[in-house]
Amino acid sequence: MSSLLRVEGVDFDFQGHRVLRQATFDLEEGSCSAMIGTNGSGKTTLLRIAAGVLRPAAGSVRLRGRPMAALSLKEIARTIALVPQQLELPFDFTVQQVVEQGRTPYIGMLRGPGRTDRIAVDRALDLADVSRLRHRIFNELSGGERQRVKIALGLAQQPRLLLLDEPTQNLDIGRQVELIDLLHFLRDEGITILASMHDLHLVDKNFSTVLLLSPGQALASGSPEQMLKPSILEHAFQCPPDRHPLLIERAELYRKEAR
């Protein structure tokens, strides 16, 4: 598989504080990766850098081998879609109007949306399973519905890479499973996925690669089996091994496998 996005030696400072240090990772076409790490370890920042919204203080980001800095915002937006944690709208836009914004990189200033754009919006609404909500007001939707609409907005961009910032945050377990199923479906459709994940239970089995960000440490990556080892998590999250059910559970699992 070829590399879709390569982040190399990226540093990022925020208010005099180094948030990212020499972060390096590679996303292959069609991969489905999870990014984990403590609060404030820079997961959201790294996603924003990967989406071209933030510029790193040092290092490079390459999209299909081309430096991100050399690409126009529209070129980037046609390849990468970022689904942020929050979307607060001050006015009562309908779901369809929200998703139509995903066509912005394809629509010129003087031209309205055409047939291709309408087809892309319909498909995005279908893929995210929110067609039935298209005339509802976005601000009146539940958390799970909003999450799906945000993903539909990203899909309307017809991206090759979908970046999601904590997509299962504030979702009940049923909606979490639905969302993970949706991510699998999108991966099968050929979309590369990178999601920052808070709930480590959902990472195992659902993602092919795990990127681990720890404060003061270089970014580490590997398969879920490699990265979700209790010793690694204990160190990365600075959590005593006998105090959290996840670590106890995983320690038990690895003991069984070792036997």
Partner: protein, 334 residues
């Protein structure tokens, strides 16, 4: 909707130009337009030298304020942002007062110094308020409203010094010009002035048209808009300049009129939804109708006395603003 509003605008224009101390009925106006019965000399004088310029000026003032309100509300993602609240009107008034007091005889390429300084004041104030509210790449809405309010109050009140230390050299007449500006009285402009104002407003509206879709995207937030391919900073600067020009046109013809830029886009949004592409023409027409009606009421309701339309609208706009604050308090919890 647009056809109905255009028809309503035509009707309101007819009623407004016919209403006053000397009434001219719509039938008389129609008869004159169709060439059946010409107007009397007196009627022609009243119509073309007084009423029609004033009614058209009030229409331009209403359109300008409503359009500027629409742009600023979308740009700042806030239904309470209007030219007055965020300081754009205050800056324009301050600039115009300097123009009236010190450079009343000056003009550049047909634009009076008053109009140019109104635009400069409006744009400079917006730039100041905007830069005060920006922090860490984000616009803080609470800071924006507070900074806008503070600057608006400061400029508006300092304009009273111009009234106090009148430099127009026209004695009481000069003071009256400034006083009517500060209270929001629609002037009776010359046809040249009216033409230039209409051309400027049309130019600003045409320039705003392609930005309406961008404004829809900006409503998602700066970062969202950027990752959707919008060059956020240049879009912001364009919208601020266009909104400032619209405010300056309105202020140079009508002085300080609060709330019109708040009420009209908000009502249009309630009726049509938040799509700025649809809201632009509707706000322009509805703003014109609103101010024409308000100005006609202001000059006839206590006839023969006339109250400033700014005062009349403040009585309607004040309670409406409070209603908006009440309704939107969810969004402004700090």
């Amino acid at each position: 909707m647009l056809a109905s509003l255009t028809a309503a605008l035509g009707l309101v224009t007819l009623v407004s130009v016919g209403t006053g101390a000397v009434a001219i009925s719509p039938r008389t106006l129609f008869a004159a337009m169709l060439g059946h019965q010409p107007l009397t000399q007196m009627q022609r004088l009243i119509l073309f030298q007084i009423r029609l310029p004033r009614v058209l000026a009030s229409g331009l003032v209403g359109s300008g304020l409503a359009l500027a309100g629409l742009l600023f509300q979308g740009l700042f993602r806030n239904p309470i942002a209007d030219p007055y609240v965020i300081g754009s009107s205050g800056g324009a008034i301050f600039g115009a007062c300097i123009g009236i007091s010190f450079f009343s005889q000056w003009s550049v390429f047909g634009f009076s110094a008053t109009a140019l300084l109104a635009f400069a004041g409006s744009a400079a104030t917006m730039a100041l308020v905007y830069s005060l509210a920006r922090s860490g790449g984000r616009t803080n809405v609470v800071t924006l409203l507070l900074a806008g309010f503070a600057i608006s109050t400061m400029f508006t009140n300092s304009s009273y010094f111009f009234e106090l230390f009148d430099r127009t050299g026209n004695g009481k007449a000069g003071k009256d010009v400034l006083a009517s500006w500060l209270h929001g009285v629609v002037s009776i402009p010359s046809w040249t002035e009216l033409g230039v104002s209409a051309a400027l407003l049309a130019l600003a509206t045409v320039a705003a048209l392609p930005l309406m879709r961008t404004l829809n995207t900006l409503v998602l937030g700066d970062e969202y808009a950027q990752q959707l391919g919008i060059r956020v900073e240049s879009a912001r600067v364009s919208i601020i300049l266009i909104g400032s020009l619209m405010t300056a046109v309105a202020v140079s013809l009508g002085g300080m009129i609060m709330f019109a830029g708040l009420i009209v886009p908000h009502v249009a949004r309630l009726l049509l939804g938040p799509d700025h592409v649809r809201l632009l023409p509707v706000s322009a027409l509805a703003g014109a109708i609103f101010l024409m009606l308000a100005d006609t009421l202001a000059r006839t309701i206590f006839a023969p006395s006339e109250i400033p339309v700014g005062v009349l609208i403040a009585f309607v706009g004040g309670p409406f603003f409070l209603y908006l604050l009440r309704k939107m308090k969810r969004s402004y919890t700090v």
